[in-house]
Symmetry: C2
Subunit: 231 residues, 2 copies
Protein backbone atom coordinates (compact mmCIF):
# COMPACT_ATOMS: atom_id res chain seq x y z
CA UNK A 1 0.00 0.00 0.00
CA UNK A 2 1.59 3.31 -1.03
CA UNK A 3 2.30 6.01 1.53
CA UNK A 4 -0.21 8.83 1.16
CA UNK A 5 1.14 12.38 1.12
CA UNK A 6 -1.19 15.34 1.45
CA UNK A 7 0.58 17.85 -0.76
CA UNK A 8 -0.20 21.56 -1.02
CA UNK A 9 -1.40 22.60 -4.50
CA UNK A 10 -2.53 25.73 -6.32
CA UNK A 11 -5.58 26.23 -8.49
CA UNK A 12 -3.90 23.83 -10.91
CA UNK A 13 -3.73 20.57 -8.95
CA UNK A 14 -0.33 19.91 -10.53
CA UNK A 15 1.10 23.16 -9.14
CA UNK A 16 2.77 21.61 -6.09
CA UNK A 17 4.68 24.51 -4.65
CA UNK A 18 5.15 23.88 -0.93
CA UNK A 19 8.83 23.84 0.11
CA UNK A 20 8.06 21.59 3.06
CA UNK A 21 6.03 19.13 1.00
CA UNK A 22 8.92 18.96 -1.47
CA UNK A 23 11.23 17.96 1.35
CA UNK A 24 8.90 15.03 2.00
CA UNK A 25 8.42 14.05 -1.65
CA UNK A 26 12.16 13.93 -2.14
CA UNK A 27 12.61 12.04 1.13
CA UNK A 28 10.05 9.40 0.08
CA UNK A 29 11.78 9.03 -3.29
CA UNK A 30 15.17 8.79 -1.58
CA UNK A 31 13.82 5.91 0.52
CA UNK A 32 12.37 4.30 -2.61
CA UNK A 33 8.90 4.18 -1.07
CA UNK A 34 5.85 4.08 -3.26
CA UNK A 35 3.90 7.28 -2.76
CA UNK A 36 0.47 8.57 -3.65
CA UNK A 37 0.13 12.34 -3.43
CA UNK A 38 -3.19 14.01 -2.73
CA UNK A 39 -3.64 17.60 -3.81
CA UNK A 40 -4.55 19.69 -0.75
CA UNK A 41 -5.41 23.36 -0.39
CA UNK A 42 -4.79 25.64 2.60
CA UNK A 43 -8.50 25.73 3.41
CA UNK A 44 -9.01 21.94 3.22
CA UNK A 45 -8.65 21.76 6.98
CA UNK A 46 -11.28 19.03 7.37
CA UNK A 47 -9.40 16.80 4.91
CA UNK A 48 -6.47 16.48 7.35
CA UNK A 49 -8.40 16.90 10.58
CA UNK A 50 -7.44 13.30 11.42
CA UNK A 51 -3.85 14.57 11.87
CA UNK A 52 -4.96 16.87 14.72
CA UNK A 53 -3.46 19.91 13.04
CA UNK A 54 -3.94 21.95 9.88
CA UNK A 55 -0.74 21.97 7.80
CA UNK A 56 0.95 19.82 5.21
CA UNK A 57 2.96 17.70 4.65
CA UNK A 58 0.99 14.96 6.32
CA UNK A 59 1.78 11.35 5.52
CA UNK A 60 -0.32 8.28 6.19
CA UNK A 61 1.66 5.05 6.27
CA UNK A 62 -0.73 2.21 7.00
CA UNK A 63 -2.19 3.08 10.39
CA UNK A 64 0.46 5.70 11.16
CA UNK A 65 -0.09 9.44 10.57
CA UNK A 66 2.96 11.71 10.75
CA UNK A 67 3.04 15.48 10.33
CA UNK A 68 5.89 17.97 9.85
CA UNK A 69 8.60 17.42 7.26
CA UNK A 70 11.40 16.98 9.81
CA UNK A 71 9.44 14.49 11.89
CA UNK A 72 8.49 12.61 8.74
CA UNK A 73 12.15 12.29 7.73
CA UNK A 74 13.10 10.99 11.18
CA UNK A 75 10.16 8.58 11.06
CA UNK A 76 11.10 7.25 7.61
CA UNK A 77 14.65 6.42 8.73
CA UNK A 78 13.31 4.68 11.83
CA UNK A 79 10.50 2.80 10.08
CA UNK A 80 12.58 1.80 7.04
CA UNK A 81 16.13 1.30 8.36
CA UNK A 82 17.05 -0.98 5.44
CA UNK A 83 16.23 1.66 2.83
CA UNK A 84 18.77 4.39 1.97
CA UNK A 85 19.19 6.63 4.99
CA UNK A 86 18.20 10.29 4.99
CA UNK A 87 20.56 10.79 7.94
CA UNK A 88 23.75 8.76 8.25
CA UNK A 89 23.50 8.95 12.04
CA UNK A 90 22.66 11.22 15.00
CA UNK A 91 25.45 13.73 14.35
CA UNK A 92 24.61 14.06 10.65
CA UNK A 93 20.99 14.66 11.70
CA UNK A 94 22.01 17.21 14.32
CA UNK A 95 24.09 19.11 11.75
CA UNK A 96 21.19 18.92 9.29
CA UNK A 97 18.97 20.60 11.88
CA UNK A 98 21.27 23.62 11.68
CA UNK A 99 20.92 23.62 7.88
CA UNK A 100 17.13 23.42 8.28
CA UNK A 101 17.14 26.41 10.61
CA UNK A 102 19.42 28.33 8.26
CA UNK A 103 17.12 27.68 5.30
CA UNK A 104 14.07 28.72 7.32
CA UNK A 105 15.62 31.82 8.90
CA UNK A 106 18.05 33.06 6.27
CA UNK A 107 16.77 31.78 2.90
CA UNK A 108 12.99 31.30 2.92
CA UNK A 109 12.21 34.88 4.02
CA UNK A 110 14.24 36.12 1.06
CA UNK A 111 12.48 33.74 -1.33
CA UNK A 112 8.99 34.67 -0.20
CA UNK A 113 9.66 38.35 -0.78
CA UNK A 114 10.54 37.57 -4.40
CA UNK A 115 7.65 35.22 -5.16
CA UNK A 116 4.72 36.25 -3.00
CA UNK A 117 2.60 37.92 -5.69
CA UNK A 118 2.81 35.21 -8.39
CA UNK A 119 2.44 32.60 -5.66
CA UNK A 120 -0.77 34.29 -4.48
CA UNK A 121 -1.96 34.56 -8.05
CA UNK A 122 -1.78 30.81 -8.67
CA UNK A 123 -3.66 29.79 -5.52
CA UNK A 124 -7.06 28.12 -5.69
CA UNK A 125 -9.74 30.79 -5.48
CA UNK A 126 -11.02 29.36 -2.21
CA UNK A 127 -7.54 29.77 -0.66
CA UNK A 128 -6.92 33.37 -1.61
CA UNK A 129 -8.77 35.13 1.21
CA UNK A 130 -7.26 32.75 3.79
CA UNK A 131 -3.76 33.24 2.42
CA UNK A 132 -4.02 37.01 2.21
CA UNK A 133 -5.42 37.36 5.71
CA UNK A 134 -2.99 34.98 7.43
CA UNK A 135 0.11 36.31 5.62
CA UNK A 136 -0.82 39.96 6.01
CA UNK A 137 -1.21 39.37 9.76
CA UNK A 138 2.23 37.72 9.77
CA UNK A 139 3.93 40.41 7.66
CA UNK A 140 2.00 43.25 9.30
CA UNK A 141 1.44 44.78 5.86
CA UNK A 142 -0.39 43.94 2.63
CA UNK A 143 1.06 41.35 0.25
CA UNK A 144 1.69 44.15 -2.23
CA UNK A 145 3.57 46.23 0.36
CA UNK A 146 5.55 43.15 1.37
CA UNK A 147 6.58 42.55 -2.26
CA UNK A 148 7.63 46.17 -2.81
CA UNK A 149 11.38 46.49 -3.19
CA UNK A 150 11.83 42.85 -4.15
CA UNK A 151 14.05 43.84 -7.07
CA UNK A 152 16.29 45.92 -4.83
CA UNK A 153 16.46 43.00 -2.37
CA UNK A 154 17.52 40.45 -5.00
CA UNK A 155 21.30 41.07 -4.88
CA UNK A 156 21.25 40.76 -1.08
CA UNK A 157 19.21 37.57 -1.33
CA UNK A 158 21.68 36.08 -3.77
CA UNK A 159 24.59 37.05 -1.51
CA UNK A 160 22.84 35.39 1.42
CA UNK A 161 23.22 32.09 -0.43
CA UNK A 162 27.02 32.26 -0.22
CA UNK A 163 27.42 29.56 2.44
CA UNK A 164 25.42 27.19 0.22
CA UNK A 165 27.24 28.31 -2.93
CA UNK A 166 30.70 27.82 -1.46
CA UNK A 167 29.82 24.43 0.02
CA UNK A 168 28.38 23.16 -3.25
CA UNK A 169 31.51 24.25 -5.09
CA UNK A 170 33.51 22.08 -2.67
CA UNK A 171 31.32 18.96 -2.71
CA UNK A 172 28.55 17.61 -4.94
CA UNK A 173 25.74 17.67 -2.36
CA UNK A 174 25.22 19.09 1.11
CA UNK A 175 25.30 15.43 2.12
CA UNK A 176 28.67 14.94 0.39
CA UNK A 177 28.90 12.41 -2.46
CA UNK A 178 25.18 11.61 -2.20
CA UNK A 179 22.19 13.76 -1.26
CA UNK A 180 20.95 13.87 2.32
CA UNK A 181 17.78 15.31 3.80
CA UNK A 182 19.68 18.62 4.07
CA UNK A 183 19.76 18.76 0.27
CA UNK A 184 16.00 18.25 0.14
CA UNK A 185 15.47 21.04 2.65
CA UNK A 186 17.52 23.47 0.57
CA UNK A 187 16.01 22.21 -2.68
CA UNK A 188 12.52 22.85 -1.28
CA UNK A 189 13.24 26.58 -1.21
CA UNK A 190 14.26 26.61 -4.88
CA UNK A 191 11.42 24.37 -6.03
CA UNK A 192 8.96 26.62 -4.17
CA UNK A 193 10.26 29.53 -6.25
CA UNK A 194 10.35 27.54 -9.50
CA UNK A 195 6.74 26.37 -9.28
CA UNK A 196 5.40 29.72 -8.04
CA UNK A 197 7.20 32.30 -10.14
CA UNK A 198 8.55 32.58 -13.68
CA UNK A 199 11.42 34.70 -12.40
CA UNK A 200 14.67 32.80 -11.88
CA UNK A 201 16.10 33.70 -8.49
CA UNK A 202 19.57 32.64 -9.65
CA UNK A 203 21.66 34.24 -12.33
CA UNK A 204 22.41 31.80 -15.18
CA UNK A 205 26.12 31.83 -14.29
CA UNK A 206 25.50 31.02 -10.64
CA UNK A 207 27.34 27.85 -9.63
CA UNK A 208 24.21 26.85 -7.69
CA UNK A 209 22.40 26.26 -11.01
CA UNK A 210 24.35 23.01 -11.46
CA UNK A 211 23.30 21.63 -8.07
CA UNK A 212 19.70 22.76 -8.56
CA UNK A 213 19.54 20.96 -11.90
CA UNK A 214 21.03 17.82 -10.35
CA UNK A 215 18.31 17.97 -7.70
CA UNK A 216 15.60 18.40 -10.34
CA UNK A 217 16.98 15.35 -12.16
CA UNK A 218 17.08 13.00 -9.15
CA UNK A 219 14.68 10.03 -8.97
CA UNK A 220 13.76 9.95 -12.61
CA UNK A 221 13.34 13.70 -12.73
CA UNK A 222 10.76 13.88 -9.94
CA UNK A 223 11.31 17.57 -9.25
CA UNK A 224 11.80 18.54 -12.88
CA UNK A 225 8.59 16.83 -14.04
CA UNK A 226 6.56 19.27 -12.00
CA UNK A 227 6.02 22.17 -14.35
CA UNK A 228 7.87 25.39 -13.68
CA UNK A 229 5.64 28.44 -13.56
CA UNK A 230 5.12 29.75 -17.07
CA UNK A 231 6.28 33.27 -17.83
CA UNK B 1 55.57 13.01 22.14
CA UNK B 2 52.89 15.71 22.26
CA UNK B 3 51.47 17.19 19.09
CA UNK B 4 52.87 20.67 18.53
CA UNK B 5 50.42 23.42 17.64
CA UNK B 6 51.63 26.77 16.36
CA UNK B 7 49.04 29.07 17.87
CA UNK B 8 48.52 32.74 17.05
CA UNK B 9 49.14 35.05 20.02
CA UNK B 10 49.07 38.75 20.84
CA UNK B 11 51.69 40.84 22.64
CA UNK B 12 50.79 38.79 25.72
CA UNK B 13 51.81 35.26 24.74
CA UNK B 14 48.73 33.97 26.61
CA UNK B 15 46.37 36.02 24.44
CA UNK B 16 45.47 33.21 22.05
CA UNK B 17 42.79 34.80 19.94
CA UNK B 18 42.72 33.02 16.57
CA UNK B 19 39.33 31.48 15.77
CA UNK B 20 40.95 28.89 13.52
CA UNK B 21 43.59 27.92 16.09
CA UNK B 22 40.79 27.50 18.65
CA UNK B 23 39.08 25.04 16.35
CA UNK B 24 42.28 23.00 16.43
CA UNK B 25 42.89 23.30 20.19
CA UNK B 26 39.36 22.09 20.88
CA UNK B 27 39.73 19.31 18.30
CA UNK B 28 42.97 18.08 19.90
CA UNK B 29 41.30 18.12 23.34
CA UNK B 30 38.26 16.28 21.92
CA UNK B 31 40.59 13.56 20.66
CA UNK B 32 42.34 13.48 24.04
CA UNK B 33 45.72 14.07 22.41
CA UNK B 34 48.54 15.62 24.39
CA UNK B 35 49.32 19.01 22.92
CA UNK B 36 52.07 21.56 23.24
CA UNK B 37 51.16 25.01 21.94
CA UNK B 38 53.77 27.41 20.66
CA UNK B 39 52.95 31.11 20.65
CA UNK B 40 53.27 32.43 17.12
CA UNK B 41 52.88 35.92 15.68
CA UNK B 42 51.69 36.91 12.20
CA UNK B 43 55.20 38.00 11.23
CA UNK B 44 56.93 34.83 12.45
CA UNK B 45 56.83 33.48 8.91
CA UNK B 46 60.24 31.78 9.17
CA UNK B 47 59.09 29.85 12.26
CA UNK B 48 56.54 27.90 10.15
CA UNK B 49 58.40 28.01 6.82
CA UNK B 50 58.72 24.20 7.09
CA UNK B 51 54.94 24.03 6.47
CA UNK B 52 55.38 25.68 3.05
CA UNK B 53 52.86 28.39 3.89
CA UNK B 54 52.46 31.29 6.30
CA UNK B 55 49.35 30.81 8.44
CA UNK B 56 48.35 29.03 11.61
CA UNK B 57 47.11 26.63 12.85
CA UNK B 58 49.97 24.34 11.93
CA UNK B 59 50.39 21.05 13.75
CA UNK B 60 53.42 18.80 13.86
CA UNK B 61 52.63 15.21 14.79
CA UNK B 62 55.87 13.24 14.77
CA UNK B 63 57.13 13.56 11.22
CA UNK B 64 53.79 14.82 9.86
CA UNK B 65 53.02 18.52 9.35
CA UNK B 66 49.41 19.52 8.69
CA UNK B 67 48.06 23.00 8.03
CA UNK B 68 44.52 24.44 7.94
CA UNK B 69 42.02 23.77 10.73
CA UNK B 70 39.65 21.72 8.54
CA UNK B 71 42.44 19.54 7.13
CA UNK B 72 43.80 19.06 10.63
CA UNK B 73 40.40 17.84 11.87
CA UNK B 74 40.11 15.38 8.97
CA UNK B 75 43.68 14.22 9.64
CA UNK B 76 43.06 13.67 13.35
CA UNK B 77 40.05 11.44 12.69
CA UNK B 78 42.05 9.45 10.12
CA UNK B 79 45.23 9.18 12.19
CA UNK B 80 43.44 8.44 15.48
CA UNK B 81 40.35 6.44 14.54
CA UNK B 82 40.08 4.90 18.04
CA UNK B 83 39.86 8.29 19.77
CA UNK B 84 36.49 10.15 19.93
CA UNK B 85 35.52 11.18 16.43
CA UNK B 86 35.23 14.80 15.36
CA UNK B 87 32.99 13.64 12.51
CA UNK B 88 30.67 10.66 12.94
CA UNK B 89 31.05 9.85 9.23
CA UNK B 90 31.21 11.33 5.72
CA UNK B 91 27.71 12.86 5.78
CA UNK B 92 28.21 14.47 9.19
CA UNK B 93 31.48 15.92 7.84
CA UNK B 94 29.79 17.14 4.65
CA UNK B 95 27.08 18.88 6.68
CA UNK B 96 29.76 20.37 8.95
CA UNK B 97 31.42 21.89 5.88
CA UNK B 98 28.24 23.90 5.35
CA UNK B 99 28.39 25.08 8.97
CA UNK B 100 32.04 26.05 8.46
CA UNK B 101 31.14 28.08 5.39
CA UNK B 102 28.24 29.71 7.22
CA UNK B 103 30.50 30.73 10.12
CA UNK B 104 33.12 32.10 7.74
CA UNK B 105 30.71 33.94 5.42
CA UNK B 106 27.87 34.99 7.74
CA UNK B 107 29.36 35.21 11.25
CA UNK B 108 33.06 36.01 11.18
CA UNK B 109 32.66 39.19 9.08
CA UNK B 110 30.18 40.46 11.68
CA UNK B 111 32.53 39.57 14.54
CA UNK B 112 35.56 41.25 13.02
CA UNK B 113 33.68 44.52 12.57
CA UNK B 114 32.93 44.54 16.31
CA UNK B 115 36.41 43.59 17.57
CA UNK B 116 38.93 44.88 15.05
CA UNK B 117 40.25 47.85 17.05
CA UNK B 118 40.78 46.10 20.42
CA UNK B 119 42.16 43.10 18.51
CA UNK B 120 44.67 45.37 16.76
CA UNK B 121 45.53 47.01 20.04
CA UNK B 122 46.57 43.74 21.69
CA UNK B 123 48.84 42.57 18.87
CA UNK B 124 52.58 42.24 19.34
CA UNK B 125 54.22 45.49 18.25
CA UNK B 126 56.08 43.68 15.47
CA UNK B 127 52.74 42.46 14.03
CA UNK B 128 50.90 45.77 13.96
CA UNK B 129 52.20 47.17 10.66
CA UNK B 130 51.68 43.80 8.95
CA UNK B 131 48.16 43.45 10.28
CA UNK B 132 47.14 47.00 9.41
CA UNK B 133 48.53 46.79 5.91
CA UNK B 134 47.10 43.36 5.04
CA UNK B 135 43.66 44.03 6.55
CA UNK B 136 43.34 47.52 5.09
CA UNK B 137 44.08 46.05 1.66
CA UNK B 138 41.39 43.41 2.28
CA UNK B 139 38.79 45.85 3.63
CA UNK B 140 39.74 48.60 1.16
CA UNK B 141 39.62 51.14 4.00
CA UNK B 142 41.46 51.91 7.25
CA UNK B 143 40.84 49.77 10.31
CA UNK B 144 39.18 52.77 11.95
CA UNK B 145 36.86 53.30 8.97
CA UNK B 146 36.05 49.58 8.97
CA UNK B 147 35.11 49.72 12.67
CA UNK B 148 32.89 52.79 12.23
CA UNK B 149 29.24 51.92 12.67
CA UNK B 150 29.98 48.76 14.65
CA UNK B 151 27.43 49.74 17.28
CA UNK B 152 24.73 50.24 14.65
CA UNK B 153 25.65 46.88 13.12
CA UNK B 154 25.38 44.98 16.42
CA UNK B 155 21.62 44.25 16.31
CA UNK B 156 21.96 42.91 12.76
CA UNK B 157 24.93 40.79 13.78
CA UNK B 158 22.97 39.33 16.68
CA UNK B 159 20.01 38.59 14.37
CA UNK B 160 22.36 36.85 11.93
CA UNK B 161 23.02 34.27 14.66
CA UNK B 162 19.38 33.11 14.60
CA UNK B 163 20.03 29.80 12.82
CA UNK B 164 22.60 28.95 15.52
CA UNK B 165 20.36 30.25 18.31
CA UNK B 166 17.34 28.25 17.22
CA UNK B 167 19.35 25.06 16.70
CA UNK B 168 20.97 25.31 20.13
CA UNK B 169 17.59 25.78 21.74
CA UNK B 170 16.54 22.48 20.13
CA UNK B 171 19.62 20.40 20.94
CA UNK B 172 22.57 20.74 23.32
CA UNK B 173 25.32 21.00 20.70
CA UNK B 174 25.51 21.48 16.94
CA UNK B 175 26.71 17.87 17.01
CA UNK B 176 23.61 16.79 18.97
CA UNK B 177 24.09 15.27 22.42
CA UNK B 178 27.86 15.67 22.22
CA UNK B 179 30.02 18.34 20.57
CA UNK B 180 31.32 17.86 17.04
CA UNK B 181 33.89 19.79 15.06
CA UNK B 182 31.03 22.06 13.96
CA UNK B 183 30.72 23.24 17.58
CA UNK B 184 34.42 24.05 17.66
CA UNK B 185 34.12 26.03 14.44
CA UNK B 186 31.27 28.12 15.85
CA UNK B 187 32.96 28.40 19.25
CA UNK B 188 36.11 29.74 17.56
CA UNK B 189 34.19 32.84 16.48
CA UNK B 190 33.05 33.57 20.03
CA UNK B 191 36.40 32.83 21.63
CA UNK B 192 38.08 35.14 19.10
CA UNK B 193 35.78 37.91 20.33
CA UNK B 194 36.18 37.00 24.02
CA UNK B 195 39.99 37.08 23.96
CA UNK B 196 40.20 40.19 21.76
CA UNK B 197 37.54 42.51 23.13
CA UNK B 198 36.02 43.31 26.51
CA UNK B 199 32.66 43.90 24.82
CA UNK B 200 30.28 40.96 25.01
CA UNK B 201 28.79 40.35 21.58
CA UNK B 202 25.81 38.56 23.16
CA UNK B 203 23.17 40.07 25.38
CA UNK B 204 23.14 38.42 28.84
CA UNK B 205 19.69 36.99 28.18
CA UNK B 206 20.72 35.41 24.85
CA UNK B 207 20.08 31.67 24.87
CA UNK B 208 23.46 31.25 23.14
CA UNK B 209 25.19 32.26 26.38
CA UNK B 210 24.43 28.81 27.83
CA UNK B 211 26.03 26.97 24.92
CA UNK B 212 29.02 29.32 24.89
CA UNK B 213 29.60 28.69 28.59
CA UNK B 214 29.32 24.95 28.07
CA UNK B 215 31.96 25.22 25.35
CA UNK B 216 34.23 27.26 27.64
CA UNK B 217 33.88 24.56 30.31
CA UNK B 218 34.70 21.56 28.10
CA UNK B 219 37.95 19.65 28.62
CA UNK B 220 38.65 20.89 32.12
CA UNK B 221 37.80 24.45 31.12
CA UNK B 222 40.32 24.69 28.27
CA UNK B 223 38.59 27.64 26.62
CA UNK B 224 37.64 29.37 29.86
CA UNK B 225 41.17 29.22 31.29
CA UNK B 226 42.39 31.52 28.54
CA UNK B 227 41.82 34.98 29.97
CA UNK B 228 39.03 37.06 28.49
CA UNK B 229 40.14 40.53 27.41
CA UNK B 230 40.01 42.87 30.38
CA UNK B 231 37.70 45.87 30.18
Amino acid sequence: MPIKLYDLAGADPDARFSPNCWRTRMALAHKGLETETIAWRFTDKEMIAFSDQGKTPVIVDGDRTIVDSWSIAVYLDEAYPDKPKLFEGPQARAHALFIKNWVERAVNPGVVKQIILPLFDQLAEKDKAYFRESREAMFKCTLEEFAAGAEDALPGFRASLNPLRVTLSEQKFLGGETPSFADYIAFGAFQWARVSSAQDLLEPTDTLVRWRQTMLDLYDGLGGKTPARAA
